[in-house]
Each structure stands twice: as C-alpha cells, then as structure tokens.
C-alpha cells in the first residue's frame, strides 16, 4: 500500500511538471489552432541545456532560465519558417524538431544521456529526506523541510504552475494577448483590424516552446537525468493532458480554469499511467495508449455528430 502511495505521489509530481508543457501546447493547439510538433524537440532541448549547464557548474536557477530562452529560440525558428517562408505549421515544427535531435546531441557533446545524480538542482535544494532517512549532505534548511524528491518536485511544480497560469491569464487579457487569441479565432478579421498576424503567430510559438523547454528542464532536474529521447512523443502526452483536462472542466468558462484544466489533465494522465503500469502493462505500450486516448477523444465529436444526423433524418418529412 505504501508503495502504491509513493508511486501515485511520484506520478502526481511528474504530472504537474509535464503540466507546464501542456500549458505551452495549449497556447498553440487550443488558442492558435495549429499543431506545433516542435515541442518534442524543445522539451528535450530544455532538459539537455539545463543538464549540461548544471554539470558545468552553473547555478540550477540560471541553467533553467537559459533552457527557457533556448525553447524561446526553438519556437522562433518554427515561427519564422511558418510565417516568413509560408511553410505549413506542421512541417515547420517537424523540421525544427528533427534539427533539435542533432542539436541536443551536440549540446550534450554526443552523449545521449546525462545523469544529474549528485548535482545540485532547483529541486534537490529543497530535498532533505530519502524514503524515511534524512540525507546527511543536505542543507540545514532542506533537512528542516524534510521533503523527499517527489514531494519537493510536486510542491515546486505546483508553485511554478500557479505562477505560470496567473501570468498567462494576465497576458491573454492584454491587448497583445487578445490579438493573439483573435489570430487563432479569425485571422482575416484581426488582420483587417490592423494586427500583423505573422507577428502574433511567431510570438505564440515562442511563448509556447519556452514553456515546453521550461517543463523539460524541470523534468530533467526532477528525474535527475536528461536524455536526448525524453521528448519523443511529448506532443501526444500534452494533447492527451489537454483532452483529459477538458473532460474534467467541461463547463469551465473562465480562462484561468481552462488553463488549469491542462495541468490537471496532465496529473490525471500520469496517475492513469502509474496505475496501468502497476497493473502490469508494458511501459513500451504507454505511447500507444496515449495516442489512442487522443485519437478517440478527437473521434467522439465527429461520430456523435454523424449519429445525430442519422437519427434526425426521416423519410416522411418531419413536422415544422
């Protein structure tokens, strides 16, 4: 029983950290209505940049900040390919994502995996306990807090997620933010009202990938390693999170709640994942399950619509 609780705790922590990525994907997928595949690459980019810098002796906070900036740049590349050179958004994202695979390996000097076992991270800073035993090397502050790695990940994740939701809520209420929402909603209209939609799209892609990279940096620090493959399929995890979140927040009208739903969706996703893995599902099948969740959720509205149309039809002609 204790083992189950621990694994659920770990799953929740992981969910919150990945939830930050889901927030990034929410911006492109839900607000801009484009599927940006850059994120698989920019998630790993965040982890790799952060790990390399931490191993090089940089303070974890600064390393995380630079990882965010790297994500911003990755988003800018996709954005420029898409807006300046009119390459379809999906293809632009794929091109950046593929390049990032090579770039991430370069960043890690050809290694595909960098462990952060004994390095100071923004999470280890608060960790004073491992299982039930106190970590002797931890600071007095961390020992006093007495948090385990997953508790610390969870609490830091929640604090960061709340701050990001608040910032996004504010930003999308501003003039620029409103113009960005309108770009996803009706591009011709907002251009007729004087907004350079190329610029709003670029901005959205940059913010989105910065958040994704941020998430990658946090996940790497939480799991104590960065891996060039850590972002593979991340887009599907994020979409599944958004889709699951929508189920839980079906009637949410408030924008902050809609954002929160993505984070909650990610938490639920990782809890489901922990449970099915515990039930004996092969971990390799997890990506298949994620894809099925997303595909089914996209199919449901189409199928229900068809069924409705079929049922509404009558040969005799209905009443007025």
């Amino acid at each position: 029983m204790n083992g189950l609780l621990t694994s659920l705790m770990g799953a929740t922590a992981q969910g919150v950290l990945w939830g930050i990525m889901a927030l990034g994907v929410y911006i492109t997928y839900k607000l801009l209505k484009i599927s940006d595949l850059t994120v698989d690459g920019s998630f790993a980019l965040g982890g790799c940049v952060c790990a390399v810098l931490i191993l090089g002796g940089m303070s974890p906070a600064l390393a995380t900040l630079i990882a965010i900036i790297a994500g911003l740049a990755a988003g800018a590349v996709t954005g420029i390919l898409h807006t300046v050179f009119n390459i379809p958004a999906i293809l632009s994202g794929i091109l950046t994502q593929i390049s990032l695979w090579s770039i991430n390996l370069r960043i890690m000097s050809g290694k595909s995996n960098l462990p952060l076992l004994n390095s100071e991270t923004i999470i280890s800073f608060f960790v004073g306990r491992s299982g039930s035993s106190t970590i002797e090397s931890a600071s007095g502050f961390a020992k006093a807090l007495g948090m385990t790695q997953s508790t610390a990940s969870l609490i830091i994740g929640i604090v960061i997620a709340v701050v990001i939701v608040a910032i996004l809520y504010w930003f999308f209420g501003t003039e620029i933010g409103s113009a960005l929402r309108a770009t996803g909603n009706n591009e011709a209209m907002i251009r007729a009202l004087g907004v350079n939609t190329n610029r709003t799209k670029l901005l959205a892609l940059m913010i989105s990938n910065a958040l994704v990279s941020f998430s990658g940096a946090l996940v790497a620090q939480s799991q104590k390693y960065a891996d060039v493959g850590m972002g593979t399929g991340a887009i599907v995890v994020a979409l599944a999170s958004i889709v699951i979140g929508e189920v839980f927040f079906k009637y949410a009208r408030n924008f902050a709640l809609k954002l929160t739903s993505a984070v909650v969706g990610a938490i639920v996703y990782f809890i489901i994942r922990a449970v099915v893995l515990r039930l004996g599902m092969n971990a390799n099948d997890m990506k298949l399950l994620s894809a099925i969740i997303v595909a089914v959720s996209l199919c449901i509205p189409v199928v229900t619509q068809r069924i409705k149309e079929k049922q509404a039809y009558s040969e005799e002609g209905g009443e007025e």
């Binding site: 501003t174 003039e175 620029i176 909603n185 009706n186 209209m189 007729a192």
Partner: protein, 265 residues
Amino acid sequence: MLNIVNVRKTFNKGTINEKKALRGVNLHLDEGDFVTIIGGNGAGKSTTLNMIAGVYPIDSGKIEIDGINISREPEYKRAKYIGRVFQDPMLGTAADMEIQENLALALRRGQKRGLGWGIKSEEKEIYHEQLKRLGLGLEDRMSSKVGLLSGGQRQALTLLMATLKKPKLLLLDEHTAALDPKTAAKVLELTNEMVTGEHLTALMVTHNMKDAIAIGNRLIMMNNGKIIYDVAGDEKKNLTVDDLLVKFSEAAGEELSNDRMMLAK
C-alpha cells in the same frame, strides 16, 4: 480623399487560368462620398475593394488615401485608415470571443497594441451605448460569445466594429448579400444611418440595383476590370433599374450578366 490611379491586377499570370481582374481602374473619392458599385460577374468589384484593403498586392498603379501612398503597404498597416465589412458574416467577427471583446479589438484598429488590458471597464459604457443603436438587444448580451449570434446580428456587429473607430474609408463588400431580405434591409438601413450620420466616406459593392440607386450620392458600374459608368448627384437619384441596364449594354456592348443581380431585380 481616396485616389486610385491606373490600378491593374492579373491573377495567375502566365498560366492557363490567367485572369485580368483589373485593367486600369481610376477613381477619385471626395470626403463624405458614399459610392455604390455594381457590375456583372467577375467585373472586378470585390477585387477593387480587396486591392484598396491590401488583401493582394497590385501589379501596377497607385492607391492613395489623404495623399498618403498606401499601394505597397501590407493589409494590417492599411487597417489604420480602413474599416471593412465582408460578404460572409462569419468573417468579420471572432466567434469564440465575447461581443465586448470583439468591440475592444475593433476600437484598437490600427493602433499599437501593448500590455494594457485588452478591454478597459470604462470602454464598456461606450460599447453599451453603441450596441443600443443597432436596436438588436445586443447591449444586454455583451459578454455572450459572438458565435451565438445570427448572421444578421453578426453583420450588424461587424458594421459597428468597422466604424467604432472612425475610418477614413469604409469598404462594404456585398455585406447584405448573405442575409435574408428582412435582415438585409435592416443592416442596409443601419449602414445608411452610420455612413450619412457620421459623414463617412464609403464604397459599397451591391448586387441590388435598387439599393445602388437609392443609397449614397454616387454610383459606379464596373465591367471586365474597368469602371464603365460613373454617375452622381441628381442624375443618379433619378435613375431607374431599366436605365442602368440600358447604360450597361451601351457601355459594355453586351447584356449585363450577374446571376444574383437578375434574381434581385
């Protein structure tokens, strides 16, 4: 005010689908002119409006507003001078956003957008007042999503949005064509009220010849990418639909063919 000099546009140049849409359009509008544009299928009416708005680049010629050459400016920059209402009621508003949010976007047409609130509380009173003018009860539904409105309501809202920040030029591209007759009449009445009441300069493409005669102070007929007839003042007021048909066949050397126009006659 508006000055168009020898504007030409060919679509799909050098291909089998080559289409000479505008073959040297010249037009001068004075401040406060309300011009209706009629013409056959593919005459270049909508293209003219789109060229002024900057939807596509022109091949040659010059477009000036108030002496400023805007021929090479991108669409979003020209928005500073121009308010637009499209034929498709879905095109002029953002469906997933609230009525007041749409108005707030329109109030900032052509202005630099920053990190101030996208909608300020003091603006809401203006929106309430303005929506009242439409007489559609929208002032009590300001936080409803635009997607919940009917086509006519959306078009009336678009009209309000296009004029909320007074444009130097208002472009109306068959903006009542997609509406049912009753709603179309209502939107047209609103258009007339707004344009004459606020002394706007406007270009209105229509397929309804009666409307084209009854509304505005000047009428332009286009055919095959050129302006073939231009009439203003009393002469315009006294026109009849039959006069217009005769004028057309005189100037164009063929019968007027516009499917919708024939139906509307």
